[in-house]
Symmetry: C2
Subunit: 170 residues, 2 copies
Amino acid sequence: MRKIFMAAAVLALGTGLAFSRSERPAPAPNGIELPADFADWRLISISARSDNDTMRAILGNKAAIKAAREGRIKPWPDGTVLAKVAWKRKTHEAWPAASVPGDFVQVEFMVKDSRKYAETGGWGFARWVGGALKPYGKDPGFVRECFACHTPVKDSDYVFTRPVFMPAAR
Amino acid sequence: MRKIFMAAAVLALGTGLAFSRSERPAPAPNGIELPADFADWRLISISARSDNDTMRAILGNKAAIKAAREGRIKPWPDGTVLAKVAWKRKTHEAWPAASVPGDFVQVEFMVKDSRKYAETGGWGFARWVGGALKPYGKDPGFVRECFACHTPVKDSDYVFTRPVFMPAAR
């Protein structure tokens, strides 16, 4: 446990963020809890946005990875959880043409439950901001903002991300 | 097995690449075999290069993830394997300011064994190119090219990638 805490401290030091395992982040205003193990999820895709200068990794829980590899994403099945981790873009000090992740910005989740979240396309939304992982939104109505932004991609089940091709993925 | 094959076919269809589980890629000219499970490895970092218009995900085997989270990366321990998966950059059709992965380009590996690969900084290098995963290099001397490119980052154990900060990573 001490080893784990020190590892977190080393990483936090390296990026200027303070976060320890003993601080469990508060749930989102709609009751969604931060999945404790999301950093261990496998890769769905990556993206970069020039409009807010961020780089992102999109990870999926087991149900999401299985669905992605079997091509069952229109719609994604109930039980799917997608995580989008965002960092500010920075230039690699030894390779000026390379952009790499800098400071951690936020982590966002889409949780598929077609009954529970029927009003927002079957998806529950949640976001935790900054190194302190502060839940986004003042009340459960914050999801209207999320859903409005995702509505243009209704044809891909409200998901912007397309799983990448990964050779040899089983 | 049939299900797995079909999943691969669906993914291949989706990206215009042909790859099936029955074709085992040839080893690299230095004898390194493609790690069969690399698509299941966890995230170390991501990057984007404007000089060749690619986007990359850097994944790590268990030893690499453990080392990254404990801050033991100068040097990375023996047993570390890093995978860099590269795709051509394309613009997201529904979000013009977003870049996302397009066609698969290649997957590259760095394998740490300080004795076996003592002549190249303790790292074995390997690359498989395109959907057919063709090994890169005509003979074992191909590693000179890899090592020359990585020599400027000798101070970070010849590795360009810095592990990203992932809140709650254990």
